[in-house]
Symmetry: C2
Subunit: 328 residues, 2 copies
């Protein structure tokens, strides 16, 4: 298996090392020729034109680590050549565009996976395993806090949900195995935020999921307080107990006694590349396929709508129709 890597920014370079290490790299595409220096004396073909790379390189899949606004264009070019795609989140910032590209991959049976790495963190994987084993009974609620100070240069206007919250919303679906049914949200730039035209640095949301499960979400990247990990801190309440994932540690609470879970063994592979390759070899849908991840992006989309209207918003979960289009 060989891959064309598109994008050699900081995330792109980490993909570069990963693909190189595993002998999977066919070629690199990066519009900024100055980036080539990162490759040192490595012999991989380097292109500044995606079209040229696609024409001249034999590959099985493409890894898309471009900036979010470029995602769809690059994914579409890969699909034009019949290539499978492993793409960094988001599918696209534009929800309609996300639905269209996912529908196309499904229609043309092209493997398309989003490299959602949060649900592959070992302590997240372990918490899910405990839940599935019935450690807390049926899930009742999930309360998530995410606090960081993260003021960095970006090529686009920062938006806490599109940039980071989408990971947490994906974990909501992962832990529960359920889809959202309704959402209320408030997206805003807090008093202690920095000035940036259009920036959305904080989010509050409450989400209802199938089966009466509820989630409350508080997130900011303008926090002046103690920081949480990128994955946030989680309180997952059930009918028989609770799991708290705090600072990357897991606590299992039964009868109000908290026990730290030290044994993280018995969880499956935890990187997106391995999952993608396995899905290709086994001709199955990957865990965070475009079709699945679109349901996560639906949560982000309806959070935007709910915040704009100040109203509880029903969530229409996107489904593939018989005519190959996406509903909702």
């Amino acid at each position: 298996m060989k891959a064309i890597l598109v994008g050699l920014g900081s995330a792109g370079f980490s993909w570069y090392k990963r693909l190189k290490e595993r002998g999977l790299l066919a070629a690199v595409v990066e519009v900024d020729p100055a980036m080539k220096i990162k490759m040192g004396d490595d012999p991989f073909p380097f292109y500044t034109s995606l079209e040229e790379a696609l024409e001249t390189t034999q590959a099985d899949f493409l890894v898309n680590v471009t900036s979010p606004m470029m995602h769809t264009k690059v994914n579409a070019a890969a699909f034009d050549r019949g290539l499978a795609v492993l793409c960094e989140k988001p599918i696209s910032f534009d929800y309609q565009e996300s639905k269209e590209i996912v529908a196309r991959a499904a229609r043309e049976r092209l493997p398309f996976m989003i490299a959602e790495n949060y649900r592959r963190m070992p302590y997240i994987r372990k918490a899910k395993q405990l839940i599935d084993a019935g450690a807390i009974g049926a899930i009742s609620s999930l309360d998530i806090q995410f606090y960081r100070y993260h003021h960095v240069q970006r090529r686009y206007t920062v938006h806490i949900l599109d940039d980071i919250g989408v990971h947490h919303f994906d974990l909501l679906r992962y832990f529960t195995g359920k889809e959202g049914t309704a959402i209320q949200a408030k997206l805003f730039n807090p008093v202690n935020g920095w000035q940036e035209e259009g920036a959305v640095l904080s989010a509050y949301a409450f989400i209802e999921l199938e089966g009466g499960i509820t989630a409350a979400y508080q997130a900011t990247i303008a926090s002046k307080g103690t920081e949480t990990p990128w994955s946030g801190n989680w309180r997952i309440e059930g009918t028989e107990g609770a799991i708290e994932v705090r600072d990357k540690e897991i606590y299992l609470i039964r009868d109000h006694m908290a026990v730290k879970v030290e044994d993280l063994s018995g969880i499956d592979e935890t990187d997106t590349l391995t999952e993608f390759l396995a899905s290709l070899q086994e001709h199955r849908e990957s865990e965070t396929s475009g079709q699945d991840y679109l349901k996560t992006q639906a949560l982000v989309h309806y959070a935007h709508v709910a915040s704009a209207t100040g109203q509880m918003q029903a969530i229409l979960v996107p489904q593939m129709k018989e005519n190959g289009e996406m509903t909702a």
Copy 2:
């Protein structure tokens, strides 16, 4: 100064001891004669009829520790005799009734205070002092988590906001010195709650306050996880730092360094009775007077409305009109 104590249930008996200790007790009223046994051999007059007690006892004020549904009737009877009243929260479960009794007290210039004790807890008082001293700059947001398992016998249907959340909403106003302007809320019985007709065991809310301050609130009395104190855990973010009140301890965070605040000195008196007596002697409004506390109850009232409609609800802060009625 002498008081008539009305109500000798568990909260009432703790008031009994407090008033007795300070030589303030004139008489006790309790409809259930079996309760008299709590008084042992104490010589204080005991009545099962409020009217009879009010007719035969010389007193300066009445302490109302009846069940919430009785509050207004008892307060009104005291006002009929020109007595000042120190009343346990809530003013009344009925918002309209709360406005009317507060308006009456104001019109007739009768001192009327709600015994709101949460804002008199030393660590709460200290956090407020730090905020007022500018320790975190201007307040930006307040995030509150309250988790307990509290399944007890009550004389009325449990409602997390009316019963407990009202204290937290009062602290929001206390810490910020601002009033709520809008609220979204979801009040519900969670999957892991017990069955009780009409019970509301969990609440989510986000509240906007004057000056762009925001608050997010998560609360449940059906928690199977680790419990917070009754006052909840607080993260108060500001423009220059943050204060976290966790498990009754205060942490001051500046430049992302958390320092535990050990010195709770320099804060003023911390019990409601002392404040009430001082306000009577100084002929001033008490800190949590009925007129002030009505603004706290407004938050609870509009949370109910917001939850019922699924819409962001503007908060109309009740004000005394020239004709002696309350607005909003």
